[in-house]
């Protein structure tokens, strides 16, 4: 049982990081970023390229810092090229799905072109094993379980207390008035995308440390993140985080008891059931 809970917490932590980025962008801009999965992939690849001896060979710490910086820029670029031109159009919500899918297609093939299709391995931040809840796990797993809530907690405090957080909530509530109060909407949107991309990048680094990295590594986590945001309700950070850990745990439980092949079926059954009762998710609001 301990092993199941630990594995559920690990995947839940990673899903929470990915999904909260999606939810953040939705809450502020009302668009959904389908290229979020390739942002995760990009974060992992940049960290690998900087740190690995067959790349630049600067070590993992430099790699992670480099990856975070790169992701901030990547988030801004995604916003400028794939989102900004369509914002304010009546069907921006749907058009941005298509542009970000095209962006994902571009980035995935670019990674395939530069790095090739062979799976790569990223160094782990800490090696060795720890015993937790009666099971022995890799220390990297523990790091993920601890680091993720810290990051999400700081994000929550940032959104609640900082001037930026106040501004972003003001924009979400009433764009015109916020603008009249001197909030620079454009800068806020860029920041939102940068923060969201950094979260995806960190999730990518964690994911790559636990498994491996390849050009299409972002697809599966993105899909889980879809489930998470639908279940938790888009735009609600607490709902998203709750749903992420819930999905992680359900996944771990069902892989253990009913087998890995039936897990997606179990997840979708839960999803359909919840949507039948609450069409806007666990803690979502009307859209």
């Amino acid at each position: 049982m301990g092993a199941i809970i630990v594995s559920g917490l690990v995947s839940g932590s990673i899903y929470a990081l990915i999904a909260s980025g999606l939810s953040l962008v939705w809450g502020a801009l009302g668009v959904f970023n389908f290229s979020h999965g390739v942002l995760l992939m990009a974060g992992a690849f940049v960290a690998w390229w900087i740190s690995d001896p067959s790349g630049l060979g600067f070590g993992l710490l430099t790699g992670v810092i480099g990856s975070v910086l790169f992701m901030a820029v990547a988030g801004a670029v995604v916003y400028r090229i794939l989102v900004r031109p369509w914002l304010g159009n009546s069907n921006a919500e749907l058009t941005v799905i298509m542009t970000t899918i095209a962006g994902a297609m571009f980035a995935e093939n670019l990674a395939l072109y530069i790095f090739g299709g062979r799976l790569k391995v990223l160094d782990q931040a800490i090696t060795g094993t720890v015993t937790l809840l009666g099971t022995t796990i890799q220390a990297q797993n523990l790091l993920v379980i601890i680091l993720s809530p810290i990051l999400l907690g700081s994000l929550a405090i940032f959104l609640k207390r900082s001037k930026y957080g106040l501004a972003i909530r003001a924009i979400a509530q009433n764009r015109e008035v916020a603008q009249m109060m001197g909030i620079r909407i454009e800068a806020m949107y860029v920041t939102t995308f940068a923060v969201s991309a950094i979260l995806a990048g960190i999730a990518g680094v964690m994911f790559a440390g636990l498994f491996s990295l390849g050009p299409s590594m972002g697809t599966d986590p993105l899909l889980r993140a879809f489930l998470v945001v639908v279940l938790g309700g888009l735009g609600s950070l607490p709902g998203t985080i709750l749903a992420a850990y819930l999905i992680g745990l359900i996944e771990a439980l069902s892989s253990y008891y009913i087998g890995i092949y039936w897990t997606p079926v179990a997840l979708f059954s839960v999803l359909i059931f919840i949507l039948l009762i609450r069409p806007t998710g666990l803690m979502g609001r009307e859209v």
Binding site: L94, M98, T99, A102, F226
Partner: protein, 325 residues
């Protein structure tokens, strides 16, 4: 009068091309590409009914295509259902599934519909890979029997598959054009453009939308069945994100809410991807850039390009006419 003549000329040339093409493209590679392009055009144009006319952004049509293929494969291989009848099974299964999916998904709004239908496609993949004894798992279900009429096997030189794919596309296009110009089609457009007004004029929103999903699932299911017979295999690759993106690209590049646009898009993309085969993965980067540029600068797609050319010609003609007067 001249409009009628143009119409007859266009229809006539399409008919001649449809009859001639299978006789001309007989080499393996071009023939294969043409058949696939035609089948994908069926999926793309039916997708357009929900995407373009009804404004329901969904990912379900790839799943309809794939489920059609798998139903054909499963009922012929495991249940011994005779060929042709399996296509009827494919349509029936897909129609029921699309009604259920649509009914569940359309309780939700906007973005949630896209997410849930996207998840539905992935659920199909997960189920197919898990039920190895029925579906053949990740390898796919091999051994779908060849189509034949009175002892004439379609797989002899594949020309019959070419004609079948053409017939399917033509029938589907006539059906879709009839739908979108009917009262039903108009009600979909009304719901898309102004839902509250349309509702207040007595259009049942959910019923029309579910109906749009079900009606647009019929021909993709048939195309899926033919696809399985043609390739002898139904494989989970059909549901892959890359094929979803490709068919969606056909719809978008061609131009939504036109029906004809996605067909042009399917032919255009298939030819382009094959012509750029030497570039490897770079060609998909080019396709991605093309989609973004199209959405940015030509929101009506390739089809609208043709329409604007027609408008220019028409205005030139008018000028000539006023000059001669």
């Amino acid at each position: 009068m001249s409009k009628k003549i143009t119409k007859i000329a266009v229809l006539g040339s399409i008919g001649v091309a449809a009859l001639a093409a299978p006789q001309i493209f007989t080499s393996g590679v071009t023939q294969n590409l043409a058949i696939l392009a035609l089948l994908f055009a069926v999926v793309a144009s039916n997708w357009d009914l929900t995407l373009g006319y009804a404004g329901i952004f969904n990912f379900a049509h790839v799943a309809f295509f794939g489920i059609g293929a798998y139903t054909s494969a499963i009922v012929t291989i495991h249940l011994g259902v005779p060929i042709w009848l399996d296509l009827v099974c494919a349509v029936a299964v897909v129609a029921v599934l699309s009604a259920i999916t649509a009914f569940l998904a359309l309780r939700l709004r906007g973005i949630y519909v896209a997410l849930v239908t996207f998840a539905f496609v992935q659920l199909c993949v997960a189920l197919i890979i898990s039920q190895k004894s029925i579906t053949g798992g990740a390898v796919g279900l091999v051994g779908v029997p060849d189509l034949q009429i009175a002892g004439y096997a379609f797989g002899v030189d594949y020309q019959a598959y070419f004609y079948t794919a053409e017939a399917l596309l033509i029938a589907s296009t006539i059906f879709l054009r009839w739908l979108v110009t009917s009262n039903f089609g108009l009600s979909l457009i009304a719901l898309r453009d102004n839902e509250s007004y349309a509702r207040s004029r007595g259009i049942p929103a959910t019923r029309q939308r579910v109906l749009a999903m079900v009606l647009s699932s019929i021909f993709p299911a048939l195309a899926g069945g033919v696809y399985a017979h043609y390739l002898i295999v139904a494989s989970p690759d059909i549901f892959s994100f890359s094929l979803t993106t490709l068919i969606l690209s056909m719809t978008l590049l061609g131009g939504t809410a036109t029906i004809y646009g996605p067909i042009i898009g399917a032919l255009f993309l298939t030819i382009m991807i094959e012509a750029l085969a030497g570039l490897g993965v770079v060609r998909f980067m080019i396709v991605a850039v093309l989609i973004i540029l199209t959405l940015r600068f030509l929101s009506g797609g390739i089809w609208s390009l043709g329409e604007s050319v027609r408008d220019i010609i028409a205005s030139l003609k008018n000028k000539q006419r006023s000059n001669t007067k």
